[in-house]
């Protein structure tokens, strides 16, 4: 059974590129940070099951309309996602140039994801202008505001906690939701490309994440700030999904 794999764990077959260190041994602070991040993730993932729209995936009552509502409501955050990542990169000084490079390449990878999402929306029977006209919902406003604020601060290493949650969710969509949504709604792969795309190169992403964590998390303060930001982002992301706007604007 492929459904419900532990989403943060990564896929089986992706190859690790040469520039990505394999089998990173984390320093003790980074280890504790990873333990706490795992708990934040597991709590976030569990609590997503309480969000009415997502609970319908678990209960088997998710509809095409639900899929469209979901896509309409997360598009704004996906667009803004590339902005805060780019700003995060520019907020790192010369002493953090390696991290800056990693984040820039990440921003390049994802900055046009929203176009894929729009195509999914149309493929699932939605009208392009409807998704283009959607404004940020209440939760997206809060999430965006927080991320732009943190990313504007100097050397915002705590945003590693934000990436942990948002990347984790991308992988959860790919491994747990996409296929199940197709099964429940009868929609084709064409409608869930945005979700499945995020399952690619999981283990490479994880190794890259570990390497960055090992580099920046060297003391108690960095653990606290990374974990705190992960908690805030988890809460605000869930708020975004709880504050779903059902109507077309």
């Amino acid at each position: 059974m492929s459904d419900g794999e532990i989403s943060i764990e990564g896929g089986e077959s992706s190859s690790v590129q040469e520039n990505v260190p394999e089998g990173v041994v984390l320093n003790p602070h980074a280890q504790v940070c990873l333990q706490q991040l795992l708990r934040v993730w597991l709590g976030f993932e569990r609590d997503l099951s309480k969000v009415p729209l997502l609970r319908r995936i678990d209960l088997g009552t998710f509809t095409v309309e639900d899929h469209q509502v979901f896509l309409r409501n997360i598009r704004q955050q996906v667009i803004e996602g590339s902005r805060w990542i780019a700003r995060t990169a520019s907020s790192f000084d010369r002493n953090h140039s390696e991290i800056r490079s990693t984040i820039i390449s990440h921003a390049v990878d994802e900055h046009r994801d929203y176009q894929m999402l729009e195509k999914d929306y149309v493929a699932s029977g939605g009208r392009l202008e409807d998704i283009l006209n959607m404004e940020r919902n209440v939760g997206s406003e809060a999430l965006h505001g927080f991320l732009m604020h943190r990313s504007s601060l100097p050397n915002p290493i705590d945003l590693l906690g934000a990436m942990w949650i948002i990347e984790g969710l991308g992988e959860k969509m790919a491994h747990s939701w996409a296929e199940r949504i197709q099964e429940l709604t009868g929609l084709s792969e064409e409608s869930t490309r945005f979700m499945t795309y995020h399952g690619h190169n999981d283990s490479e992403h994880m190794q890259r994440f570990y390497a960055t964590l090992d580099r920046v998390c060297n003391n108690e303060e960095s653990i606290t700030s990374i974990v705190k930001t992960a908690k805030v982002v988890a809460r605000l992301y869930r708020l975004q999904l709880e504050e779903i706007e059902y109507d077309i604007q």
């Binding site: 059974m1 459904d3 419900g4 794999e5 532990i6 943060i8 764990e9 990564g10 990173v24 984390l26 003790p28 280890q31 504790v32 990873l34 333990q35 706490q36 795992l38 708990r39 597991l42 709590g43 993932e45 569990r46 609590d47 099951s49 309480k50 609970r55 678990d58 209960l59 088997g60 009552t61 199940r180 570990y210």
Partner: protein, 378 residues
């Protein structure tokens, strides 16, 4: 007051049943071999198990009898007069009678006079609930000794007649209904017993109970393993809401169900609880010498174990021990059965001072329970 497990016992009904014999005991539904059996058996890797029903699906041992037999073995091995047992706690997913509680029935069989009794209701973790209550009772110094039993007779729920009678159920309607058939090839019967005392046994090894903790996630997650509903998202009736029990049975409301799609939540919540205990300083992974898990390591995807290793809190596979493959998955009774054999097996060396971490997750509605024992000798 420190409390020790000073004796253990177990009971298995009938002979060990191999993979190929399973369907001849439970019966082929409408005489057609199951198309899912081999796949599910391959995945769970259980080689032998026991059933308290025969090849004609007639009950050979009641649940009460099995619990009693495990208790007798446990008491026979103990350095304690029976009258010192002040409490009897019994756990099972389903006793022989819906009422009264199973502890009453077992007490009668054991002829233990005027003791305090407790029946815990639940699935796999019900045995840990019973153990914790008995442990606390001794810690409060209300008793010197308590007997904790867990027994499961799942095969009565899994025999072919149950499925054949469910004529209007999802099982009858679908060509393949994973949710009703999954547990059919997983669960089997058996009983385990633990004797708790306020001092270690005068001879041999005892297990000191260091702590017992549980975290339930029913507030957030849907029901995953259950008996009592027809398993349709839009139908909220439970078995007693039907006009007759016969209608409930026809509709599949008396079949044992597992929503396998939700099952991975159990592993996730299991890891979460473990990390919580590590964070609180209750559990120290580097000090764990033996890990007894109700699920075997292959049930956890390797990747999450790798992630725990990366985070410095993994437990090396050589410290895992289970008898799941030879004794079967006996639900609530599993851990007691495991502890009984753990203290006697040659497969692993058990030494004074060793720390034993035990983990019993329950998929019902996601209850995860943990306990730590330390091997001691008087």
């Amino acid at each position: 007051m420190t409390v020790y497990i000073t004796s253990t016992g177990s009971f298995f009904p009938g002979p060990a049943i191999s993979i190929d014999q399973v369907e001849s005991i439970l019966g082929a539904v409408h005489d057609k071999p199951s198309s899912l059996r081999v796949q599910i058996q391959k995945a769970n890797k259980i080689q032998t198990r026991h059933y308290a029903i025969d090849e004609n699906q007639q009950t050979t041992h009641s649940n009460t009898e099995m619990a009693t037999n495990a208790a007798e073995q446990c008491l026979d091995r103990a350095f304690l007069n029976r009258e010192k047992v002040g409490m009897l706690a019994v756990a099972s997913t389903q006793g022989d009678l819906p009422a009264p509680g199973m502890a009453s029935m077992v007490q009668a069989e054991l002829e233990l006079p005027e003791i305090e009794i407790l029946t815990t209701h639940g699935i796999c973790s019900s045995s840990i609930m019973a153990l914790k209550a008995a442990w606390n009772s001794l810690r409060l110094e209300e008793h010197e000794a308590a007997l904790v039993l867990s027994s499961e007779l799942a095969s009565r729920l899994l025999k072919k007649q149950r499925y054949e009678a469910a004529t209007t159920s999802t099982f009858a309607a679908k060509r393949i209904d994973f949710s009703t058939e999954f547990l059919r090839w997983m669960l089997s019967d058996g009983a385990g017993a633990l004797l708790l005392q306020n001092k270690p046994a005068p001879k041999g090894l005892s297990l000191r109970i260091d702590w017992i903790r549980g975290f339930s996630h029913a507030h957030a997650l849907p029901t995953c393993m259950s008996v009592g509903s027809a398993g349709r998202p839009t139908d909220s009736r439970t078995w007693q809401d039907y006009d007759t029990y016969a209608e409930a049975e026809q509709d599949g409301a008396l079949l044992l169900r597992q929503d396998v799609r939700l099952l991975d939540n159990l592993m996730r919540m299991g890891v979460d609880g473990y990390l919580r205990l590590v964070e609180e300083g209750v559990s120290k992974p580097s000090e764990v010498d033996h890990f007894l898990c109700h699920y075997s390591s292959h049930h956890f995807r390797n990747k999450i174990l790798e992630m725990l290793d990366t985070a410095g809190v993994g437990i090396p596979e050589e410290r895992w021990w289970t008898n799941l493959y030879s004794r079967g998955n006996t639900g609530a009774a599993s851990l007691f059965i495991m502890l009984d054999e753990f203290l006697r097996t040659d497969e692993v060396s058990v030494n004074v001072g060793d720390r034993v971490l035990c983990f019993v997750p329950e998929s019902g509605r996601f209850n995860t329970t943990y306990l730590q024992l330390t091997v001691v000798e008087k």
